[in-house]
Amino acid sequence: MFKTADGAEIFIIDGHTHLWDASPENCLNKYGTGFIDCFHGYQKFLSPPEYVWERPVFCKYGPEKYVKDVFVKGYVDVGIFQPTYLKEFYKNGFNTTEQNAYLKERHPDRFILNGSWDPRDGEAGLDYLTSLVKRYAIKGVKLYTAEWKGSSRGWKLTDPWAMRYLEKCQQLGVKNIHVHKGPTIWPLNKDAFEVHDVDEAATDFTELNFIVEHCGLPRLEDYCWIAAQESNVYGGLAVVMPFIYSRPRYFAEVMANLLKWVGADKLLFASDYAIWEPKWIIDKFMDFQMPQDLKEEFGVDLTLEVKRKILGENAAHLYGIDIGQHMKKLANDAIAKAA
């Protein structure tokens, strides 16, 4: 929770967090090493210097550090775990649903645990999805279209099997589909980041919500167009948020575009912890004022009300959280007491 100078209390849901293990013991090959190095590059590039971690900690930080950075220091009330499996690169996976469940089991009201699926798993994968719902009552999944599987280098939301999985999600009440595009896709001659499959999926599955992670960067313009047309397409702000420190003008321009084309009700704050720490991002976001020229050009503003929506209300709506009740639950939990 963030308390403003005037005493307003802002409930915060971090829409995208991880509890990963990229330690050398868990890395299978150069792809795994390259993956975590890439993440570390993002941290180094965009974080204030005092928030850059040493590599060994970055590779594996553990649950205690997560709790301290996200809930105690970081103002976050509820963290959403978005798993990333990558079993071709990491022995036990990078951060699977099962790995993340460790913290969910210890602090159930502090986490939304999301699952994942891969349409290339066929029938067996549909069974796995059903078992995730039974075991963890998941309400959302994170899909990584660039995931490698055997000789396959990626997939699309419009692949026939993906459509079957989306139908299953609809049946099982797994309503929130977080889509993350990455650098590999089959076939490799296509643009891996192209977002038009989200448009088709959103049109075909109107009961599902499609949250496009990092607002479809690097195809921000296409994402804005799609989100403007489809009422069930949302934007996760991980990767966008950290620009607030090193490139505040770019941050302002991105936010102006997003507020105009996507709307204040469909944007979700996220830190992508542990790539970036929520504390400094939220401090700066709460201070941030939209420049006058952008307010006029785009007809938008980052008011306190808009910030409240982005920081927690929008995600609470997607995940059925009553903020007032939930704040009471958390007021005296183990983490609040330890803070």
Partner: protein
């Protein structure tokens, strides 16, 4: 100096996603010349940069450097990339993308290149449109501009460069042969109609903004990755000097 000539050729190779020369982006790690053999070290902002773009740039490097009359052999060395070995072997062996990745690709990269060239077209057009709008031109005046007017509509500094860059991409697409044709057209050459001007401008603005953001992201990541304190952009060694990319705030 032969190295300078090589850099001159490399300055003509752009990142297709960002429409900026590799030499300005810091992607060239080094050039060595031994007799007729040129080796170009090429690096990217992350280990995981898309393989298709990496291949396009590597192939373009090889093609451009091979144009120099004294060059007998070009060796491209993409480094620190998840498919560096495969791309180097393919490009240096004169293979197409489809031949380099027989299991993973269904075709070559013409479509990818065309998609991004159309985005670059809108980028360059938007920069120019923005300049004339800021000068107070009306929409009718703008839509009245002909191809033949472009060399003279803006005469100074940045504006002149923007007009030149837009004209260059019109020429590249075969859309500048008729001096009386409208200057402001869609990427496929259809004139922009008055009724759609606002919508077209917004579309172009989103495209320009997205590419600008991506370029800032890529430049910053590269600088962080290779921890360079020296000037990232190589000194402009090309014969026909090109300005640094306009409209890129830091």
């Amino acid at each position: 100096m032969r190295q300078d000539e090589v850099y001159g050729q490399l300055a003509q190779v752009s990142d297709p996603e960002l429409d900026q020369p590799l030499t300005e982006l810091g992607f060239i790690g080094g050039v060595s010349v031994e007799g007729g053999t040129v080796t170009v070290c090429f690096r990217l902002p992350t280990f995981w940069c898309a393989a298709n773009f990496a291949f396009l740039m590597s192939a373009d490097i090889r093609e451009r450097v091979s144009e120099l009359p004294w060059v007998e052999r070009v060796v491209v060395r993409l480094q620190d990339h998840f498919f560096d070995q495969e791309i180097n072997d393919g490009v240096n062996g004169g293979k197409t993308f489809a031949e380099t990745f027989p299991e993973l690709a269904t075709g070559n990269l013409e479509e990818l290149r065309a998609t991004f060239r159309a985005k670059a077209f809108l980028f360059r057009q938007e920069c120019l449109l923005r300049s004339v709008l800021e000068l107070g031109w009306s929409e009718e005046a703008i839509l009245d501009v002909r191809v033949g007017d472009l060399p003279v509509i803006l005469l100074y500094g940045q504006g002149k460069v923007l007009a030149e860059r837009y004209l260059a991409i019109l020429q590249e697409r075969g859309l500048a042969s008729d001096a009386t044709a409208p200057a402001f057209v869609h990427p496929d050459g259809r004139p922009v109609a008055a009724a759609e001007f606002r919508a077209h401008l917004e579309h172009a603005q989103r495209t320009r903004f997205s590419m600008e953001f991506n370029a800032a992201f890529c430049r910053g990541l590269l600088k962080t990755r290779y921890c360079e304190t020296e000037e990232i952009t190589a000194p402009d060694r090309s014969a026909g000097t090109r300005d640094k990319h306009p409209r890129l705030p830091e």
